[in-house]
Symmetry: C2
Subunit: 448 residues, 2 copies
């Protein structure tokens, strides 16, 4: 094995080599196998960067007993073996879900092990409690892989721009829905057609709800906005609306308006408080965010001092998410070797009360309303009357030529108004007998 | 002073508050004053994030004695006072240039102070030596502000994606030249016109050489590629060519080819070795990098495992660069409080020999050649003959309609060939008597 020999020699020559840090990987699915192969193939540069070895000491998964691994790696199907093993310094929880994962993390902390996790659901739901427990136990915790796998957005928010005061954050945080929307845009096809095809290609799950109804993006936004604003934010604080009602005609109208449509997770500090939402949104075609195609993710951050910054990369995938796990393991290993446990939770600086979440109904935005009506005279007058009664100003009316008089789509855009007023108007409009379906309302974001 | 009282109360309530870390700011120019105002205005959230106060203990500049500052901040016009003061933990070297800055950093390290610097020239020239000295002295060192002020690219490369193996890095690293190129593109104006206007508006220096001849971007690329590849890289390893010869007609031809032109700093691992250059380059209009307009900077990173990631933000400016300085101060302060000095230099993992810099003449790329000729029959045949003799395949010939037969611009694009062969061909072409000027050669980068 000449490759392994060369690698050992190189490592032996690193000056000031400290003792190994030992890792247990729990879970060998998509993310776990990615992390395992990076840790194995990339062991030499990792040791050179750290000044010590990051050693895989144990692997735990249901299928691990039948796999072949180097002899120095212990195998177990029982996660309790890993979290209680005296040689292990860091447990990487890569099983996903919330139940067993939560038990693994709690037991690891109880045994004084540091933890690296890729678990967005769990960290979105109880990140604050887990972080508090980690600090009390004097261990280290890291969760870069929980959001936007390939983008090191945690490192950016916790370290890179930690001196700034974030005022807003916008993200394309779900690769599946972004793939569907960009394909609809490119081909002019319907949601149903593109979704079915994505399912056949394996890009979308048989049950696509978590992706296209916005729940996956909502968990990620909860974690990112907690990091950005130092406030405890859970998925329940975030308004969510998926992409099921977006149709091919909406892309046509959006294009006429110089916009496109993306599922945007938005967290904005406003005079009313912190407003959080995940919803289909019109964004200008000229913004860099509109150039995020396919399954890529992106995060746009507005800082009070640093201005706009933008981060882009793969949202998922075995290797990109594996890089996040391995980079976290390296950071935590460094902290362990320097005897530096977590001291401050990124999830709660509760005295920065200006960032308390408030209802999305308080937000002021221009809106896009798309109607499908059984056409007859007087419709526009009625709709305009409803808007006027709510003191909402109409910006433009758009109607593509169409012969479908019984199912005629058209669009009204509104000058900035509150979501509350817009919703009341849409509610009144929904019950008009010529409406084929309730109007679809989407906010229009100012240039990003 | 109700605001200050509130802030003090909030800080007093932070649990586990550790003793202050004291900072000396040396230099109150553009960057120094930005850092000062962020540290002052943002003191409360910074203390909450750190769990202790980051305290400005001393300010040093030639003009400081006449300024008014809070009474707890000592003032001096003599940097020796700051680097030798027993209370100071971190010296922020923000004077720029290489001579005094180098003395300040050396003296700080000698006195056991940690150092934060924004000095790209110095870190590009002798970053390795400075880092080695810092490690030997057991202090901490940080230099986020030295490259692309508003983009936390150091945090990304050192922490965020440290588990990956970087294969290539492309950057728009000079805001002034990017502003000039994007204005030329937008307005169809000449370099001279846009540069003169940028100088009047204060966007370009009276002597614009550092910006438009590529030297500023070269220093930044030296630092970034050292971080990305763990190799000692100095400006002398990087081929540099500025934007002075790019003309309005080049944007027309580039557009015909679906491309635009940017001053790109590129560092690529190739079978021949690490190839480094800063030069005007054709990039596809559809790439996100082509959407970086005005004075913004951007960095595109290709990872072996994580794939493509992209980072964008302001390249300079008092506040964005100030955020980088303050975020560095926070990181270094955390390390000081946890007793964790620098152990591994980001500038040299010399055993990763695969990343040794080699000459740009070894690179294989498609090229764009733009000619200006005194038109006559047979020119194309001669040029094609020269290319054929070098075994270079011609891809396309482009010629805009023109009446200027005595100064006729046209373009030949080449199939991928070595820079060496291309240069030899261009050299032979340059001496032909109908050439109004030597051909302008620019590489065409594959889709980023």
């Amino acid at each position: 094995m000449p490759r392994e020999d060369a690698s050992v020699n190189a490592i032996m020559m690193v000056p000031l080599m400290l003792p190994d840090v030992n890792v247990a990987l729990i879970g060998l699915g998509n993310v776990g196998s990615g992390a395992l192969s990076i840790l194995t193939e990339n062991a030499e540069p990792i040791a050179l960067k750290l000044g010590f070895r990051l050693n895989i000491r144990m692997i735990c998964s249901r299928s691990v007993m039948s796999g072949t691994f180097p002899p120095h790696i212990a195998k177990t199907a029982n996660w309790q073996d890993a979290v209680s093993h005296p040689d292990i310094h860091i447990v990487a929880e890569l099983v996903g879900g919330t139940e067993v994962a939560s038990e693994i993390i709690e037991a690891s902390i109880r045994h004084g092990k540091s933890v690296v996790t890729a678990n967005k659901e769990l960290m979105a739901l109880c990140g604050k409690e887990i972080w508090d427990r980690a600090i009390a136990a004097g261990i280290n915790l890291a969760m870069e892989a929980s959001v936007a796998g390939g983008i090191p957005i945690h490192a950016v928010l916790r370290e890179g721009i930690s001196g700034d005061r974030i005022t807003a954050l916008y993200g394309i945080l779900n690769g599946t829905s972004n793939y569907i929307l960009t394909e609809m845009e490119r081909r002019g096809d319907s949601m149903e057609t593109v979704l079915a095809e994505a399912q056949q290609l394996g890009y979308a799950e048989a049950d696509p709800s978590a992706d296209i109804d916005g729940f996956d993006a909502r968990s990620k936004l909860a974690i990112l906005s907690a990091l950005a604003f130092g406030e405890r934010i859970t998925p329940a604080d975030i308004y969510v609306e998926g992409i099921r009602r977006v149709s091919a005609i909406d892309f046509k109208y959006a294009t006429q308006l110089g916009h496109t449509i993306r599922l945007i997770g938005a967290a904005r500090q406003t005079p009313e408080g912190l407003i959080l939402s995940v919803r289909p949104t019109l964004i200008r075609r000229s913004t860099i965010l509109a150039n995020v195609h396919g399954a890529y993710n992106a995060v746009w951050v507005k800082g009070h001092y640093g201005g706009d910054t933008f981060y882009y990369g793969r949202g998922a995938g075995s290797k990109p998410t594996g890089v996040a796990v391995v980079s976290d393991l390296m950071r935590v290993a460094r902290e362990i070797r320097s005897g530096s446990p977590e001291r401050v939770s990124p999830f709660a600086h509760p005295r920065l009360g200006e960032y308390k979440p408030v209802s999305v109904t308080l937000q002021k935005r221009p809106y896009y309303l798309r109607f499908r009506v059984d056409d007859r005279p007087g419709i526009l007058a009625t709709l305009a009357g409803i808007l006027a009664a709510k003191h909402i100003s109409l910006d433009a009316v758009l109607q593509e030529p169409s012969d479908a008089k019984h199912d005629l789509p058209f669009v009204i855009t509104l000058e900035p108004t509150t979501e509350q007023a817009m919703r009341e108007a849409v509610h009144e409009m929904s019950v008009l007998d010529y409406m084929r379906e309730p109007p679809l309302a989407m906010p229009m974001e100012p240039p990003l």
